[in-house]
């Protein structure tokens, strides 16, 4: 039995931007790997499109951007925001592929800059698998599989990375319709004896379970914290009372009680009664 796997299909951000001002009609089930091969000035349009489409996606960086430190630094805020949109895929396992379009395999140069930036923004444990598009067939790095497919035939691909299998196409893609056609030519599957279906389900729910456990701990912490905070506030009020009232001379406080009687806040008779019924207004 083969278990179908939904891969991420590599698409140029430039191609998506052909639809700036509108929304490209890609079937929502098609997951995307968006190669950020556009100048910084076009990122607002890309953000608008990705905010509007329903497709789940990951992003990847061209190797040329990662080797040029200033270029890389300038796109990091955009990478962070793109990876924060709600349809960014949470199941791929924090990967940001680095993809060479022309020659040579990228060596992940400056990947630590991306990692540090993401860590400073509260993101942990990102991986940067390096691939290149000129190498036909399978490439595997950092628990991620990229397969460069020919577009003149149907492809059936077995994977062992159900969460992070990426498909790229060897030839250029002129428009979205062609892209959709190519995606329909690819079938990706995994064998149940490698990872059981139960394992996939488990992986999918593992993070959510952890979030609920953390949330339960948080509420428990709130309970203990509220005790400390309220205790502190209680002593602050008590301290204020002693500083502001208790230190006043007795005659002043007695005068205060007479004023209370005049204002109707307590009865005249209560001045001569030790068991005072306090006004609770």
């Amino acid at each position: 039995m083969q278990i179908p796997i939904n891969p991420y299909y590599t698409i140029s951000a430039g191609l998506l931007l052909q639809y700036a001002g509108g929304v490209p009609e890609i079937p929502p089930a098609v997951r995307l790997n968006i190669l950020l091969d556009i100048p910084g000035a076009q990122f607002p349009d890309l953000l608008l499109i990705l905010g509007a489409i329903k497709n789940s996606y990951i992003i990847s960086l061209p190797a040329a951007v990662t080797t040029d430190q200033p270029s890389l630094m300038s796109v990091l805020p955009q990478c962070f925001l793109l990876s924060s949109l709600s349809n960014f895929s949470l199941t791929a396992g924090n990967i940001l592929p680095i993809i060479a379009e022309q020659t040579g395999l990228p060596n992940g140069e400056n990947a630590d800059l991306i990692n540090n930036y993401f860590r400073e923004q509260g993101r942990q444990d990102w991986q940067f698998p390096c691939f290149h598009l000129q190498q036909a067939g399978r490439q595997q790095a950092a628990n991620c599989l990229l397969v460069v497919c020919q577009t003149d035939r149907n492809e059936i691909i077995e994977t062992i990375f159900p969460q992070a299998t990426i498909i790229a196409f060897a030839t250029g893609i002129p428009d979205i319709a062609t892209f959709i056609k190519y995606t329909s030519q690819v079938k990706t599957y995994m064998l149940p004896d490698f990872f059981s279906t139960a394992f996939i389900e488990k992986k999918l729910h593992e993070k959510e379970l952890e979030n609920w456990q953390q949330r339960a701990l948080l509420y428990r912490n709130f309970l203990s914290l509220s005790k400390s905070v309220q205790q502190k506030e209680y002593y602050e009020v008590l301290d204020w009372y002693y500083k502001e009232y208790e230190t006043l001379p007795l005659w002043y406080k007695r005068l205060g009680h007479i004023i209370k009687v005049i204002m109707g806040k307590r009865s005249f008779r209560s001045l001569f009664n030790d068991k005072i019924k306090k006004n609770t207004d």
Binding site: Q78, N211, S226
Partner: protein, 243 residues
């Protein structure tokens, strides 16, 4: 001619049961056709489902997930960066979050009080305050406009030491030390965007603490920025109006 103010709402959601609350709170604003940006805490269980519901309830909105860094302040900074990256336009921002402050004695009334600024009867008053006076930079619930203690020529509150460093570092010279406690307020967009054009929100967000920090026992950068968000405006010769 359309005189309707352009509004952008930046709403941070931390709690897993906030969806209904968010929908009901934002209902009175819908007639103003606001730009809606939501940040759901990345550690909030059910965030994916909640984001889908929000997108259905508010078509055209943007939803991001960011980690719990700098609490609602960090989230608002991330949303401001997104707003700027999207090159959207607004006359006024409305900053909101699903505050509960479960540790505080007054937690039950705190949020309700802060939300006075979006009660249907008050929204027109908010815009009136802005329109009446060009120097009105922030409109907030008056009970939560408080003054940071400053004694003997220095900040004397629990965040004092941090504020002494941050205020000059960001070139702030607030005319008064009033700020909106709880960080839910209306604010004029221009001065805020001018400031964050010079100091990028995500660069500031880096410095904020992770997790649910509180400043009951010691100062935090996060709570210092709670003050600075107001002082960005009051440093620009503007004041905070209470309703």
């Amino acid at each position: 001619m359309n005189n309707e103010p352009a509004i952008a709402v930046l709403y941070h959601i931390f709690y897993e049961d906030s969806y209904d609350l968010v929908c009901s709170e934002l209902q009175p604003l819908q007639s103003y056709h606001p730009v809606l940006l939501f940040n759901i805490c990345a550690e909030t269980p059910g965030k994916k489902e909640m984001s889908e519901e929000i997108k259905k309830a508010f078509p055209g909105c943007f939803v991001i997930f960011t980690s719990n860094k700098g609490k609602d302040i960090g989230a608002k900074l991330a949303m401001l960066q997104l707003f700027m990256q999207l090159q959207l336009q607004a006359d006024y921002f409305l900053l909101l979050h699903d505050k509960k402050s479960l540790q505080a004695l007054k937690s039950a009334t705190w949020k309700t009080d802060l939300l006075k600024i979006i009660f249907p009867d008050n929204i027109a008053t908010v815009f009136q305050r802005f329109e009446e006076n060009d120097h009105c930079g922030i409109v907030a619930t008056k009970e939560y406009i408080i003054t940071e203690p400053f004694e003997e020529n220095k900040f004397s509150g629990i965040n004092g030491q941090l504020l002494s460093g941050l205020v000059p570092a960001y070139g702030l010279k607030p005319a008064s030390l009033e700020f909106v406690a709880g960080t839910m307020f209306w604010v004029r967009a221009t001065p805020l965007l001018q400031f964050f054009g010079r100091f990028h929100p995500l660069e500031i967000r880096k410095q904020l603490e992770n997790g649910n920090v509180i400043d009951n026992f010691s100062g935090t950068v996060t709570h210092s920025w709670e003050r600075l968000l107001s002082w960005i405006i009051t440093s620009d010769k503007m004041f905070i109006a209470g309703i």
